[in-house]
Symmetry: C2
DNA sequence: TGTCATTGATTGATATCCAATCCTGTGGTT
DNA sequence: AACCACAGGATTGGATATCAATCAATGACA
């Protein structure tokens, strides 16, 4: 087993990408130490890990907060993500075997079924995972870790935005990228990856203030101790425009 | 001022990329705590930072060591570096203005002068820095940090290899990349970047055992306290085949 | 009302202590 | 002599208590 501080850093990371801890939320050492029943020192080590990962910012003598990236930084993160995925696409278009293409198609198919059956939460997770699977096929652990970090940061960014996304359209993008790559149309695939991310970023409005709806203790309670309690559940956010079952899929990439 | 653990992590990083702390070297908490005159906890926090950066590995209940990447990992690091720089090249070929091209050329020119005047150490540093300047021109801090981390890891790798490199040839590569990019021959430039890194990696022989010639105390002494002592000096390694003034430039990329 | 000082809270860091684990060296056994 | 088991030392991971420095908020006072 790894160190305790790593375990706690993992839980905090999870809570952040689940949007249970929102940007700006104070991560007090004493409070976290009580919640996890460890000493402040272990908590501090966890926070250092989170800060190195870009998910938290530590201000001297003020404490740690969930990172609140600027719009500029958001653009840079998506730029970097695009760059990485385009590069991986170029590698895969050369080197990926039939089994790899099959895995990608299978993943898209699973997401398509999730969408069809109305399981939006699962579809969302699978949509995220697609990019991870994509990079994993490059068989480069270093690249995987870099990419995973960028993905975590984009997930964090989603706490700051208000737009709904069109999962169907993003899903189609995934399928089309696979098609283009397998046919060797690398340039078009890379263009599509760029568009894919741009369509996401274009929906961003980041001036919004985010109010923590949950105290850290409430936010972290589901992750504690494993055995007891319910399994960790995804985000409990209320989005603007949400109206229960019939959700309007805003096509954020619409206008040229 | 940032935290003490960050400062110590920076010094350790410096010592590692200067090849004063070599892969496998034990980084004992008690020893470092004495050297830096801080508590063990601060040292531990520094080591966590180093481990997150890929420069150290922490083995539970065994302690921290300067990372000793496998050949596989070395290849992955150079692959990732290639991918990143190719991506940046693609961006720059579109977006870079005249001032940017001038800065790149000027940098190459400075390195050329260093080579001409026989200042191999400076030439080496400038050669490294070229890649950093290159990425900085992308104006993407996130990408810069990722790249900088990869560069640090490649520098660490150089502690593990025996080959001498042909700085002249690598220098020519830099100049040619600039030329190709400015003329819009992106594909050729990317090919050259790939070759550039492959030519480095091809000289790798990593089975070699590295014996720490310096104890951590000796290795870190130049960095302590700033005011006193000589300025931090580069690597004191003895390379195989070294024979004083007349050094043979082995063209490691020779055979196709 | 506006400014300044005090107070409280939190972080950064230290020292000391303890448990768990790993390494090693010793001793017994075959 | 070779090999295995075990005990002791050393080191790490972590807890607790404590102290100084700094920030924020409050309240006193002009």
């Amino acid at each position: 087993m790894s160190s305790r501080s790593q375990a706690i850093a993992d839980i905090l990371t999870r809570a952040i990408i689940d949007h249970r801890l929102v940007p700006g939320c104070k991560l007090g050492e004493r409070e976290l130490a009580e919640i996890f029943d460890v000493s402040r020192i272990v908590v501090r080590q966890s926070l250092i890990r989170l800060a190195d990962d870009g998910l938290a910012q530590i201000e001297r003598n003020r404490g740690a907060f969930v990172a609140r990236p600027s719009m500029q930084e958001a653009l840079e993160i998506y730029d970097a993500l695009t760059l990485v995925e385009q590069g991986v696409a170029a590698q895969l278009s050369d080197r990926l075997g039939p089994a790899g293409w099959a895995e990608l198609r299978q993943h898209v198919e699973r997401q398509r079924q999730a969408v069809a059956s109305g399981n939006d939460a699962l579809a969302d997770v699978l949509g995220q995972e697609f990019h991870t699977v994509f990079v994993r096929l490059s068989r480069n652990k270093v690249m995987q870790e870099i990419h995973a970090q960028l993905v975590r940061r984009t997930t964090l960014l989603r706490s700051l935005i208000t737009a709904d996304f069109d999962y169907c359209n993003l899903l189609d993008d995934h399928a089309r990228v696979i098609d283009l790559l397998e046919k060797g149309r690398l340039k078009q695939a890379m263009e599509l990856i760029d568009m894919h991310h741009r369509s996401v970023v274009r929906g961003y409005i980041m001036d919004r203030q985010v109010f923590p709806e949950l105290t850290p203790r409430e936010a972290l309670e589901p992750y504690l101790d494993g055995k007891s309690g319910e399994p960790p559940k995804p985000a409990p956010r209320k989005k603007a425009g949400e109206n229960g079952a019939a959700r309007a899929h805003a096509h954020v990439h619409a206008s040229k």
